[in-house]
C-alpha cells in the first residue's frame, strides 16, 4: 500500500480530486473488505463503501492527525457498516432465524469441487451472519484485517476488555453454531 502523506490529506481536504483519488486507491480495498464481511451482500457493500468515502471527503478537514488515517477511515467504515447492519436486522424483524442461517451454511457446502473456493468464501460470510453487528465488527477487524486488540479498541472506540469479551462471545457462538451444523448434516 502506498503511504498517504500529510500534504495529500491537506490537498484532498481543500477539494483536490486527484489527492482524494490517491486516498481512495490506498484505502478503498480495506474499506470494501470490512464492509463486505460485515454486510454479506455485494450491493450493500458497494453502497456503504460509497457513503464511507463521501463521509471521509466531507470530514477530512477535521482529521487532526492524532490517529493514523487508516484507523480514522476504518472507524468511519465500521460505524456506517454497523449502523447499516443494525438497521437491516430491525427491518428483517430481528435476526434471521437460526434455522435459516444453518440452511444457508449447509447450502454453501462445496459439493462441486471446481467451485470450492467460492463456496468457502460464501460459507465464511454466512458463518458471520450468526453474530450480532458489534461482535461481527470485532471479528472482521481481527481475523480478516489482522488488527491488534489495541487497534480494534481505537477503531471502535471501546476498551480492551470489551474487545476481548466480544471476540470471546463471537467465537463461542461460531463454535456452538458449527456443532449444530454438524449435527444437522448427520
Amino acid at each position: 500500500m502506498r503511504e498517504i502523506s500529510e500534504a495529500t490529506v491537506r490537498d484532498a481536504a481543500q477539494g483536490s480530486v486527484e489527492a482524494f483519488e490517491a486516498i481512495y486507491k490506498a484505502y478503498g480495498p480495506y474499506v470494501y473488505n470490512v464492509v463486505y464481511r460485515m454486510l454479506h451482500h455485494a450491493d450493500d457493500a458497494q453502497d456503504v463503501t460509497q457513503e464511507v468515502f463521501v463521509t471521509v471527503y466531507r470530514k477530512l478537514k477535521t482529521f487532526g492527525f492524532r490517529s493514523s488515517l487508516k484507523t480514522w477511515i476504518y472507524r468511519i467504515a465500521t460505524n456506517l457498516a454497523i449502523n447499516h447492519a443494525k438497521k437491516r436486522e430491525r427491518e428483517q424483524n430481528r435476526t434471521v432465524a437460526l434455522d435459516e442461517k444453518m440452511e444457508s451454511v449447509l447450502a454453501s457446502n462445496p459439493a462441486d469441487r471446481a467451485d470450492v473456493r467460492h463456496a468457502q468464501r460464501e460459507q465464511v460470510s454466512a458463518l458471520l451472519e450468526v453474530l450480532n453487528a458489534d461482535q461481527r465488527a470485532c471479528l472482521v477487524l481481527r481475523d480478516f484485517e489482522g488488527l491488534s486488540y489495541e487497534e480494534i479498541a481505537q477503531t471502535l472506540g471501546i476498551n480492551l476488555n470489551t474487545v476481548r469479551s466480544r471476540l470471546k462471545r463471537g467465537r463461542e457462538k461460531l463454535l456452538a453454531f458449527s456443532k449444530e451444523v454438524i449435527r444437522h448434516e448427520m
Binding site: 477539494g15 480530486v17 482524494f20 483519488e21 481512495y24 478503498g28 480495498p29 474499506v31 470494501y32 473488505n33 463486505y36 457493500a45 458497494q46 463503501t49 460509497q50 457513503e51 468515502f53 463521501v54 463521509t55 471527503y57 466531507r58 470530514k59 468511519i76 460505524n79 456506517l80 449502523n83 473456493r117 468457502q120 468464501r121 460459507q123 465464511v124 458463518l127 471479528l139 481481527r142 481475523d143 480478516f144 486488540y149 476481548r164 471476540l167 470471546k168 467465537r171 463461542e172 461460531l174 463454535l175 458449527s178
Partner: protein
C-alpha cells in the same frame, strides 16, 4: 489453571498470540495433560481461525469509485456555492433588490440548473470544471432568491438526505 479459564484464553489471547511467559507456560502445561482442552483447541482453530485466514481479499468494482467521484464533484460545487452565498447574503442585506431583478435572477437560476445537470453527465477537465463552479454559484444564488436553501439544493437528488444523518452521527 481450570479448564474454563483455559478455554477462555484459547478463544482470545492464545489463538491471537497475545500470551507469553508464565501464563503461556501454564496454559500449555494444562493442554499437555487435558485431552478435553486439547480437543477444544483443535476445534477452535478449525472453526474460528482457519476459514477466515484463508479467505480471499475482495476488491471493489470500478463503479464504486466512479460514483464517489461524481458525488465529490457535487460536493465541491456546493462548497463553492456556499462561499459565494455567504458573500451574497451579506451584500443583499445591505442592497435591497427590486422585484424584476429577482424574477430575472430566478430565470437565470433555472437555466443554470438545467446546464449543470447536462454538464454533469460529461467527463470534464480544468476549464470546464471552473465554468461548472460558476454555474453552481449561479444555481445557489437563484436558490437563495427563490427562498430555498443551498443545503436543499445540494442534498436533494440521489443522496436523499442520508448524508445529513451521517454527519449528525459523527458530530
Amino acid at each position: 489453571m481450570k479448564c474454563r479459564d483455559v478455554r477462555e484464553f484459547i478463544l482470545t489471547d492464545y489463538l491471537d498470540e497475545r500470551m507469553s511467559g508464565d501464563a503461556q507456560t501454564a496454559l500449555e502445561r494444562h493442554l499437555a495433560e487435558c485431552g478435553g482442552c486439547r480437543e477444544f483447541e483443535a476445534q477452535a482453530r478449525q472453526v474460528v481461525m482457519e476459514p477466515f485466514r484463508q479467505a480471499d481479499r475482495l476488491y471493489p468494482p470500478d463503479a464504486v469509485w466512479e460514483k464517489i467521484h461524481a458525488r465529490i464533484l457535487e460536493e465541491n460545487q456546493a462548497r463553492a456555492g456556499s462561499r459565494l452565498g455567504a458573500f451574497w447574503a451579506g451584500l443583499s442585506s445591505r442592497v435591497p433588490l427590486p422585484k424584476p431583478a429577482l424574477a430575472a435572477a430566478a430565470l437565470v437560476g433555472v437555466m443554470a440548473i438545467a446546464l449543470t445537470f447536462t454538464l454533469h453527465r460529461l467527463p470534464m477537465q480544468g476549464p470546464e470544471l471552473a465554468r461548472l463552479d460558476i454555474e453552481a454559484e449561479a444555481t445557489y444564488v437563484a436558490a437563495l432568491l427563490d427562498g430555498t436553501s443551498a443545503a436543499s439544493v445540494s442534498e436533494s437528488g440521489e443522496n436523499g438526505g442520508f448524508g445529513t444523518a451521517i454527519e449528525e452521527y459523527f458530530l
